[in-house]
């Protein structure tokens, strides 16, 4: 078994207990970091080439360096931890909060020191009640032990909105507003929470920081698939596998190894059909592409992304039109409505995919589907529109024959036997289903 970083020690100890966490070297790096100049801490993260684990893969140290000094902007600085994990397929931050809450808190305090912040907000999705309670207990214990020093950490629960995992939507929500993303610039580094300099990082990124300091940046940078994809990831494995769950592994392991060596392969003797490598918003890979290493550059070469490292495994029972429809329904439901291409485009995607699935579409409507994707991509303030368009377009391109078969046969070729048949979308229950009176455009 490869070396664990984020979950180190949690395999045989209850690290939710402060004493146990301290027994494995917990909070030692905080003490060390506080004795160092903030620039030295950031330098270590740059040497490690630690990159954002929320999906954007932005260098963490560089993000910290974007925060202006107190001399440049005389306002409080804030650290916001994005614990609003909501991308379908992703459930790693939840396990981090469940098993190593103190490592997350230690990372928060180190990050606060690095950018000279006294305030940390952890925005945790509302659905994670058990994790909120665990984190609250850990925070109370750390506070009582005097570990927080002058720093204030506030746990802030969301209330059910995918878009609040987008950094500017998160800030709006944290300010007590509807979570609609902001136009940028200004970027959060200079004008984030309460228009003040703000660092926003994912739970896994922050929880990696103490170990980076413990190992040293250079040593950490040797793990995984350097130079860009250094270190480990918690791969969230779900879908048609025998043993779903989180697996912390060095980046660079192949999808084949994840599915067959770790997750026990595909159950019930089924065939692998496709894999989504990074969460529901990422372009899909076909079964013949699973020897790709799970690291940034190799996946980019296949026109997809590692995203939040959510590996969704799909067997041969799934209808790709139904998959596309359900994904489009999700993003339609979660679109905040601010940008027209996303608000209207996701509805068009749903309508077209419904027509295709019902066998009522024409071949030109397949092209229209791709055209709608194109008219969403890159045209909105935040990536939610892209998150709908990218996967749907990839399903059409990779499984075009299956889409064409729906049109040619005038029905779903699975004839009701697809594993996703009849999957209910919550949009239905609010009476907001977007079928226009005039029907689908031809």
């Amino acid at each position: 078994m490869a070396e664990l970083i984020v979950l180190a020690g949690a395999q045989d100890r209850d690290l939710t207990q402060l004493a146990e966490y301290r027994a494995v070297g917990g909070y030692v790096q905080l003490e060390r970091a506080r004795a160092l100049a903030p620039t030295s801490v950031i330098e270590e993260l740059n040497t490690a080439n630690l990159r954002g684990r929320g999906g954007a893969f932005f260098p963490t140290g560089k993000k910290m360096q974007f925060i202006p000094s107190r001399e440049q902007i005389d306002k409080p600085h804030y650290v916001c931890v994005n614990a609003d994990e909501s991308e379908p397929g992703t459930f790693k931050d939840r396990e981090i909060m469940q098993r190593v809450p103190h490592r997350l808190l230690e990372g928060c305090l180190i990050a606060a020191h690095a950018i000279d912040a006294q305030h940390v907000f952890i925005y945790i999705r509302g659905e994670y009640l058990a994790e909120f309670e665990l984190l609250k207990t850990a925070l109370d214990d750390a506070r009582e032990a005097g570990l927080l020093g002058e720093t204030v950490i506030v746990l802030h629960r969301g209330a059910g909105a995918y878009i609040c995992g987008e950094e500017s939507g998160l800030l709006e929500s944290l300010e007590g507003k509807r979570g609609q993303p902001r136009s940028r610039p200004p970027f959060p580094a200079s004008s984030g929470l309460y228009a003040s300099p703000t660092l926003i990082n994912n739970v896994e990124t922050i929880a990696t920081i103490p170990k980076v300091l413990e190992l040293g940046g250079a040593e950490y940078a040797r793990l995984g698939a350097p130079p860009d994809s250094t270190g480990t990831r918690l791969f969230c494995v779900s879908g048609n596998v025998v043993k779903g769950g989180n697996y912390e592994l060095p980046m660079g392991i192949t999808i084949r190894e994840v599915i067959y060596d770790l997750a026990g392969g595909i159950p019930e003797g089924r065939e692998l059909k496709a894999v989504i490598p990074g969460g529901s918003s990422m372009p899909i890979l076909s079964a013949d592409q699973i020897d790709v290493p799970l690291e940034h550059d190799a996946l980019r070469a296949l026109d997809t992304f590692l995203g939040a490292a959510a590996v969704i495994v799909i067997d041969d029972r799934a209808c790709m039109v139904q998959l596309g429809l359900r994904v489009a329904q999700f993003y339609m439901h979660e679109s905040c409505g601010k940008c027209t291409p996303c608000r209207e485009g996701t509805r068009w995607l749903v309508q077209l995919l419904e027509a295709i699935e019902a066998g009522q579409a024409t071949h030109s409507q397949l092209e229209l589907l791709l055209d709608v994707c194109d008219r969403i991509l890159g045209k909105c303030l935040c990536p939610l529109g892209d998150a709908a368009a990218m996967p749907v377009a990839s399903y059409v391109v990779k499984f075009r024959e299956e889409f064409r078969a729906h049109v040619d046969q005038g029905r779903c070729p699975f004839g009701g036997a697809s594993s996703l048949e009849g999957l209910f979308a919550p949009v239905d229950q609010h009476g907001q289903h977007p079928v226009l009176a005039e029907g689908v455009p031809a």
Partner: protein, 148 residues
């Protein structure tokens, strides 16, 4: 609610926690007076509070049952039979998704991904997650809930 506001540099940030608290005090949903209470505590208008609440799935603008049963029907659970789990709850409770039983005891909802994709199907009962729920376990779960 004012105590909640003290945690934040700007009291408006407390609107979500305050709405959650109001919802707990009003049998799980937000009637008009809840928005007046939150607005008064945080110096916001009731209309503003309602506009915020309407953005979030976990804040309910309609009455809900005493127990909230939510079944994830996103793709990861869907690939592993979430629709059968949902159907089993519909059969056991005698309501469709989005509906409340006549006795006001249960509201059944289908919900988007609640973050347990590796352990399908995920069912949240009053925000407590049950993992790896199979359709064949639903009758037992409902019986257990009915016993209180």
């Amino acid at each position: 609610m004012r105590a909640l506001a003290a945690s934040y540099p700007d009291s408006r940030s407390a609107v979500l926690p305050a709405l959650r608290l109001a919802q707990e005090r009003h049998q799980g949903w937000l009637p008009p007076e809840a928005f007046r209470e939150v607005g008064e505590a945080l110096e916001l208008t009731p209309a503003y509070c309602k506009s915020v609440a309407s953005f979030y799935d976990m804040l309910h603008l309609q009455p809900v049952g005493r127990r909230l049963v939510e079944v994830c029907t996103n793709i990861c659970c869907g690939l592993r039979g979430a629709q059968e789990v949902l159907r089993a709850f519909e059969d056991e409770l005698g309501v469709a998704p989005g509906e409340t039983t006549d006795d006001g005891e249960f509201t059944l909802r289908a919900v988007e991904c609640i973050g347990g994709c590796g352990w399908p199907t995920v069912v949240a009962i009053d925000d407590r997650h049950r993992l790896n729920v199979g359709a064949d376990e639903v009758a037992g779960i409902v019986a257990e809930l009915r016993r209180g």
